[in-house]
Symmetry: C2
Subunit: 192 residues, 2 copies
């Protein structure tokens, strides 16, 4: 007769995520995750296929959270205001989960890569917003521009690579405005 499982996939993912932010990606070891769950390391293999599979689960959950924040950021306002809100929500997620964000966006082995659908869902709000200010044929390229800009600031901020000072988050918003100006987007003052 079957036993009651002592741990669940969700519990494994939660323990791994906790470890990720407190000890970094290298600190997420099968043995330490198991230790925190009061179980032996081999037990984890009944719930995940490997360490990479575990990290893939953590990444997928993180992407869905990022997506939720992006969706929430587009609820109101002009396209320009929405782009600023999207940038804020993006940076906020990464600042709250720096190690997770680095894991999501960094290079990784194929086995660790999240489904394309989950990644696509996270970028849908941006594509939709950009679709309101440029013709269809330019949406992908301009969305990539905004994503690269915001990801660039975000990843350099959380990696503490802006070592000359300044105010990087403010510069990020300046950059969004510069791009909007370059695109010839004129905002209706009432909607901002």
């Amino acid at each position: 007769m079957p036993h009651n499982p002592r741990i669940s996939l969700d519990a494994v993912l939660a323990a791994a995520r906790d470890l990720l932010e407190t000890r970094g990606a290298e600190g997420v070891t099968m043995r330490e995750v198991a230790r925190r769950l009061g179980v032996s390391a081999p037990s984890l293999y009944f719930h995940v296929e490997s360490r990479d599979d575990l990290l893939r689960g953590v990444i997928t959950a993180g992407l869905r959270e990022l997506e939720a924040g992006q969706v929430a950021a587009t609820t109101a306002g002009s396209p320009g205001a929405a782009l600023h809100a999207l940038a804020d929500a993006y940076l906020a997620f990464a600042s709250a989960n720096p190690a997770l964000y680095s894991l999501i966006m960094g290079p990784c082995p194929e086995e660790r890569m999240a489904d394309g659908e989950v990644a696509a869902a996270a970028s849908a709000p941006l594509l939709r917003t950009v679709g309101e200010i440029v013709p269809p044929g330019r949406v992908l390229a301009i969305s990539q521009v905004f994503w690269a800009l915001v990801h660039g600031f975000t990843s350099l901020i959380i990696a503490e690579q802006f070592r000359l000072g300044g105010d990087p988050p403010a510069a990020m918003h300046e950059a969004v405005d510069l791009l909007l100006a370059g695109l010839g987007v004129v905002e209706d003052p009432r909607s901002r």
Copy 2:
């Protein structure tokens, strides 16, 4: 009487860098570096303090190479042309050394972080170029904007995160032009 050293710091760094690109950051183990040099692992500790110290050496050498490419990119042309050339050189370095680039720009423990001076030297060509198109008080912020943009494209390209297609390098150059347009920079056609 002293022995002739069988390995040098340079040899250790070269072996580590080779391993970094062929097997990834996790593949750079003290034991494998030593194996490639025909020496035992503990011998490495006569040339580096720790694995983090070894990686710091690799990062520092990489930053100097990146700097050389950035310096070379600013030899001629208008500021706008120079910014495009800087972006190209930056992406070219990262494409040729993706694992090294990720190591340089990613988050890392304090012990692995390169000297601020070396990092500053790599960004000097960009700051100098931006200084030609914006007033002194805006140089830092606008330089951060260009850096974030180019780093954003570069890191997402080498991490294979642009999964919706398009032509990211072309979009990067479009973005540079959008920023220049947003800044109101009008290029002299003869210099481009």
